[in-house]
Subunit: 444 residues, 2 copies
């Protein structure tokens, strides 16, 4: 029988088994943090919490949040790894730095045990997305510093697949190698195949399907959640295009992926991470139940080098399903709605650009899917002005109907009033990745 | 007590223990090759040898050699890994391609067991060169395809040291990271620190010593065997500069390194490789004894994916010492004299450019160490014309004496007649790596 999961013991844990494991691991981890992490010793003391008060997973809410800014400050106080480093320096085995803009990056240190768990969770994700030991993968992410290069390569290898390190650039050479080395899986950013497609056609005079790729494992950028984009990629290359390595680099490289049965991200960090949700405005806990939305808050369950407690990821998450998936995995399914910075308040309703994107995706080909929210003044808002590209076959006569239809759908689905201005296809400027900027602020 | 070896069981094996282990492993390996490798099945049949004839290490000489051209031909017959692939395709876990010139590269496939042995031997080499778990290394080799990037990173990590993947380019960013991340070891080509030195001085207005590097682990290029070059690097950076990762990419990533006591390459591939020497002209075996010189021939002792038997490396090796080293390692010490292609026959004597280099190094500062052999016609030769750069302080009056002195030393040491033409310092054109081309052929 085919092995459908990389680590079935973890991936198919029942909810009660998972809760028990989480409790045991968390209490040990909190003890470890109290003992070894100077930053947390000070944070806990300041919050007036002692470790004896933490007896259950629920007691975690007594502990303060951790923010990215605190990690930066900690690494300024004690360069390079911060006073949240809880393991001796000689036990560190790999070091990454997030790319970040100047000054905003974080150095991530991992011990051998941290690496083993990282690779195990990463392999669960790639396996869930369809990777198997018989596959031959070319890994096309930059190997400089960040986790996407070296650590993702190691995650791919942990599945048992054959992995060839390639990196970025040299598209022509890459295509030659895909042909010559019998590569059937590509691992890259979702925007890269578009570039390769041009080179395949122009310089090899080939149809991309002739290259024989069966599977694309994508991460590091959004884009693949757009079903039109994904379907076009699958049709062009004849391969399954999978969102295969979602993670939060300050916390854990990869811990979520889609499965072949269900194009939704499955949580696969069992034993490594505890996931909580909070309202990013009130900071109140939101139970992780079907339909819940909130900012994802992560706590390490078993981390030696830089354990984090109640880390605010700034990622807005919606829980889609909590029962077992058809694939047998029990981790909840979710989607990322955007960043807390993207969230807009419209008459007390939280609006995410991604919500609007999802409404418009269902209206393709009447619209192209591209849009921009135009803000003329700061929050609060009573309604939102939205420029929407209509589809190529819309006549002037259809426009009024289409405008009303979109406004109605937005009201029904997202519960706020959007004032739609229809514009021509391709008239909204695209970024390098081929996506429009979603929010335009026309005020100081 | 400090652990002086990464794998003392292997690195301090007595000669008799090593011979016994080699015999046991070799007989198993030859059985495996007979059973699983189509290319060798055909080669052995053609040579009229059956596996029952191989009962001892010495019987290996009955088996035919393998050349790089045969590997290329094999990979043309059966792309991409050749009909010398002896393991099932699904067991391959990493794939490399040697850089090579167009068409001349080899795809190297490794199983998980092959990788474990590769990393173990690589870690022995880095540990011998001085790397320890408390060190923090930045790895500055290109991660694209070849072993030097990804596999050397994994070898470094296997020692337990902290390793940050960097790659090539962005010298300014690299220097900033060395400063910020407390890096104390650099792993790169030996020519790279020269470039970094300029950037440190010009853009950071710093003395390279202020960066705090303690150790340089070098490989991938020659250059470091020149004691003048090495001494200058050590003085400039205040670090120990070690030749730390010698290997043959078609066979085993790294299996030799210098130790802190003895700037000579130690063989560290115990349990992975059997080393033999042959005369590259007569193809006769030469015993591996102190002072022996010949082409290095390698046989895998425990390789699953692409086992090689009697592989001619084209590297000319001189055995320097066979007793135990002061460091406790028992692997023989050697140096590489060049490539078989560089070997010249002068009145029946084999002459290597490296031999001339070593004679001249002992005459610095009367000479700079740079020279060129000028050939006006093809082999055979009765003597060699050699342009030699004299040192900066040589007066016209000294020149005749110096010329005679060099000719005498060459005759005494290398046993052939060299006709020396002295030229000015820096008058011989250097390559990008700062070395002169050693042999100039002025004929078609």
């Amino acid at each position: 029988m085919e092995q459908t999961m990389f680590n079935p013991d973890m991936e198919s844990l029942s909810l009660s088994e998972q809760k028990k494991m989480e409790k045991d691991l968390l209490l040990d981890q909190i003890n470890y943090v109290y003992k070894n992490s100077t930053m947390y010793q000070e944070k806990f003391a300041k919050a007036g919490i002692t470790k004896d008060q933490i007896k259950n997973t629920e007691d975690l809410s007594l502990l303060p949040f951790t923010t990215k800014q605190e990690l930066r400050d900690s690494q300024k106080r004690l360069a390079p790894f911060g006073d949240f480093l809880a393991a001796p320096a000689h036990s560190i085995n790999r070091v990454h730095r997030t790319s970040g803009t100047t000054g905003s990056f974080i150095y991530t240190a991992l011990t051998k045990n941290d690496l083993d768990l990282t690779h195990n969770c990463g392999a669960r994700a790639f396996w869930a997305a369809g990777l198997r030991p018989h596959h031959r993968v070319v890994h096309c992410l930059n190997y400089c510093m960040w986790m996407g290069g070296y650590t993702d390569h190691a995650n791919l290898e942990t599945t048992g697949a054959s992995v060839l390190p390639f990196g970025v650039g040299n598209a022509r050479q890459l295509i030659q190698i895909i042909k010559d080395a019998g590569i059937n899986v590509i691992s890259s950013t979702p925007s890269y195949p578009n570039h390769l497609e041009k080179v395949v056609k122009a310089e090899f005079n080939m149809d991309p399907q002739e290259l024989g790729l069966e599977l694309g494992l994508f991460g590091g950028e959004p884009g693949l959640d757009n079903p039109v984009f994904r379907q076009r990629m699958e049709n062009t290359w004849g391969m399954k295009a999978q969102n295969a390595n979602y993670g939060v680099s300050d916390v854990l490289c990869n811990f979520a992926s889609v499965c072949p049965d269900n194009y939704k991200l499955h949580f696969l960090g069992q034993g490594a991470l505890l996931v909580q949700l909070i309202d990013p405005v009130t900071l109140e806990d939101i139970p992780v139940t079907q339909g819940a939305m909130g900012e994802m808050v992560l706590t390490h369950l078993k981390k030696e080098a830089q354990p984090l407690v109640r880390y605010r990821t700034s990622d807005l998450m919606e829980i889609l399903e909590t029962g077992p998936c058809k694939c047998g995995r029990t981790g909840f399914r979710f989607r990322i709605l955007g960043r807390t910075d993207d969230m807009l308040h419209v008459k007390g309703i939280n609006v995410f650009p991604k919500g609007i994107a999802m409404v418009l995706e269902n209206l393709v080909p009447e619209v192209t899917g591209e849009f921009q929210i135009i803000l003329d003044h700061p929050s609060p808002y009573t309604n939102l002005d939205i420029k929407v590209e209509h589809g190529p076959h819309i006549t002037p006569d259809n426009k009024i109907d289409l405008k009303l239809k979109i406004e109605k759908k937005i009201k029904e689905t997202l519960n706020f009033k959007g004032r739609i201005e229809l514009v021509k296809p391709d008239s909204i400027e695209r970024t390098r990745m081929g996506k429009a900027r979603r929010v335009i602020r026309n005020y100081e």
